[in-house]
């Protein structure tokens, strides 16, 4: 049973908590289920939920985000990829280019915004599409990332047909749909607490094994406390949503916190590893298969992606604190 905003989110949180307690590595947890599911729970038709969710939850179908475009920088409203109406086939013809698409090289379906009204500017005239990457006209170019994530890619769409059944919500509603569950123009910022509680617990174990001076001990405890604080904050958010509230710009507060916490947590682990910190997974003496190094490299993307933390702070200042627009 997916329906119902709050309920959907709670299911999602519980799912993730279990998922990470099972020890899934960070990068896999970046699966579309955490990026797309909340939106699908809220705006997808029952038919779409039934069609997408099972394969998504089982991991059979990997979902790929298609937010950024070349030259758009952090400005996600600057969408140039367009979709033209095709009434004969009962759908849309997509053209354009998406960049920084996680899992693009091995993913199955892309979700993102396309401009259906060429006249409209910025936030207007955008529609939320899901695209089968096996469709004719889709080309994928891999981009190597610091975290070694092989999936990052540029995705080119050249007259790609998408049936109406794969449009999420109403045409022209894309922007509203994207920000409704994320509260951010910058893309999807929610991260489940489980994603940080599990490594925080492992960090305590690592400290017990290797020890460290008082300052390092303090950093270890801090990392655990931050993960716990994040769990409590998220539950507060869910409670608010269940009360019918919107996340709104709170997601910027959330994102600034977790992205910094994730970097600090892994940097602390690397300090515990000393000279072994730099060894990668191919190294015979790598500790825990170099998962801390992998996690650190992965975490470094946090303060940059889904809207840099600088942009998030501007959003907080202007939307939440009501300060005048930054100059």
């Amino acid at each position: 049973e997916y329906g119902g905003r709050g309920a959907g989110l709670t299911e999602w949180l519980i799912f993730e908590e279990e998922y990470h307690r099972a020890g899934a590595p960070g990068r896999v947890s970046q699966n579309g289920i955490f990026l797309f599911a909340p939106t699908l729970f809220e705006f997808g038709s029952r038919e779409q939920q039934d069609r997408y969710l099972p394969a998504m939850a089982s991991g059979e179908e990997i979902w790929v985000q298609g937010w950024s475009e070349p030259e758009a920088g952090s400005d996600l409203a600057n969408v140039r990829s367009r979709a033209e109406r095709d009434d004969t086939r009962g759908g849309w013809v997509l053209n354009g280019q998406k960049i920084w698409s996680s899992r693009g090289t091995y993913g199955h379906r892309l979700f993102g915004l396309f401009r259906t009204d060429p006249e409209a500017r910025r936030h207007h005239g955008l529609t939320y599409f899901t695209v089968d990457l096996a469709s004719p006209g889709v080309t994928v170019r891999p981009i190597a990332q610091l975290d070694g994530e092989p999936g990052f890619a540029e995705i080119f769409l050249d007259d790609v047909f998408v049936p109406d059944a794969d449009v999420l919500g109403a045409p022209g509603e894309g922007w509203r749909i994207m920000i409704a569950t994320t509260g951010s123009e910058r893309g999807l910022n929610l991260r489940s607490p489980g994603r940080f509680l599990a490594p925080a617990q492992r960090l305590l174990d690592l400290y017990r094994q290797r020890g460290g001076d008082g300052e390092l001990r303090d950093a270890v405890v801090r990392a655990w406390m931050d993960a716990e604080a994040y769990r409590l904050f998220t539950f507060g958010t869910v409670t608010k949503l269940q009360g019918g509230g919107q996340i709104g710009a709170d997601s910027s507060i959330n994102k600034v916190f977790w992205s910094q916490m994730d970097v600090d947590l892994h940097a602390t682990a690397l300090r515990l590893l000393g000279e072994y910190a730099e060894l990668d997974a191919a190294s015979p003496e790598a500790v825990d298969g170099a998962r801390w190094l992998d996690g650190f490299l992965f975490a470094l993307g946090g303060p940059i992606y889904a809207g840099t933390n600088e942009i998030q702070r501007n959003t907080i200042a202007e939307r939440v604190l009501g300060l005048p627009r930054a100059r």
Partner: protein
Amino acid sequence: MRLAYGDEQHLFRETVRDFLAANCTTAHLRAAWSADSAVSPRWAELAKLGVTGLVVPEEHDGLGLGDEELSAVLEQAGYAALPDPLLDTAVATGLLAEFAADAGRLAPIARGESVASVLLPGQAFAIEAEAADLLVIGVAGEDASAEIHVVDPEECALTAQTSVDRSRNLFRVDFEPVPETLVAAGPAAAAALARAADRGALGAAAFLLGLTQRMLDMAVGYARQRVQRGVPIGSHQSVQHHLANVLVKLEFARPVVMRAAYSLARGLPSAARDVSMAKVYAGEAADLAARNALQVHGAIGYTEEHDLHLFMKRAWALNAAWGDAGHHRARVAADLLGDSPAPVTPAF
């Protein structure tokens, strides 16, 4: 666990907030700064709202509420930097209710006719000891030898101190423990003193949240209105980020404090750790709020003519009181890493 206030709590909080907005203005604070005691006719007014008797059992004319409601009220008190000894009286009340409920001391507190102060083991000073009608004093930290005494301040030697926050009237208390003043001893007393210390730390954390919100609001208001070189300073990214960072700290400290109140109210095993986390997070939020609010205000915020310092100084003082960040981080660390026992009794 629902991390949100219930409706009754909301209503109660709003009543208290409105009362303080009118009866604890910065003019009132400055008056408290120049008075010998922060105890004033306002105490009786607070009693009418049920605030002084919040944790006094109903059979003694109190509301019989617990740490969650107390925290909610103290957050509002923090927003106003209320100088009245609300927290100390509440901590004393808890010990009285447990060990000396029938000595007729509780009802006067609920009615606002009496003020109680408290001095826990390891605590250096008691607030408003001179103005207080009774002092609840914990002696020694060891389970075996722990004692709780209820004393008349008149029978103690009080040495007045002066705090950087002139509305905090601190006293060194010297007294002779005698059998007549003893109300509890042994493990039960030790456990109660530990819970009292946790209530104090939690209350201070809630108060710090309120102070943080107030300093943030002041800085935001100033940043909106202050124009330099033709633009409001709030349009500068550095100012925006200073204030956004304070809000992030505050928004993440609040659920931590609410969680601690929830745990302490129900006596959950994690209560002590949760309370320590709350004190650490609320303290850091207030510390950052003070620094950044001062930075945003600039030179004007550095004057005593401006009100900001009234809130900064309270924040500094409460950060060190009821166990400072180091003490509470150590308790969390000991609980998590289990390599040294978490102190059962406070060792501030």
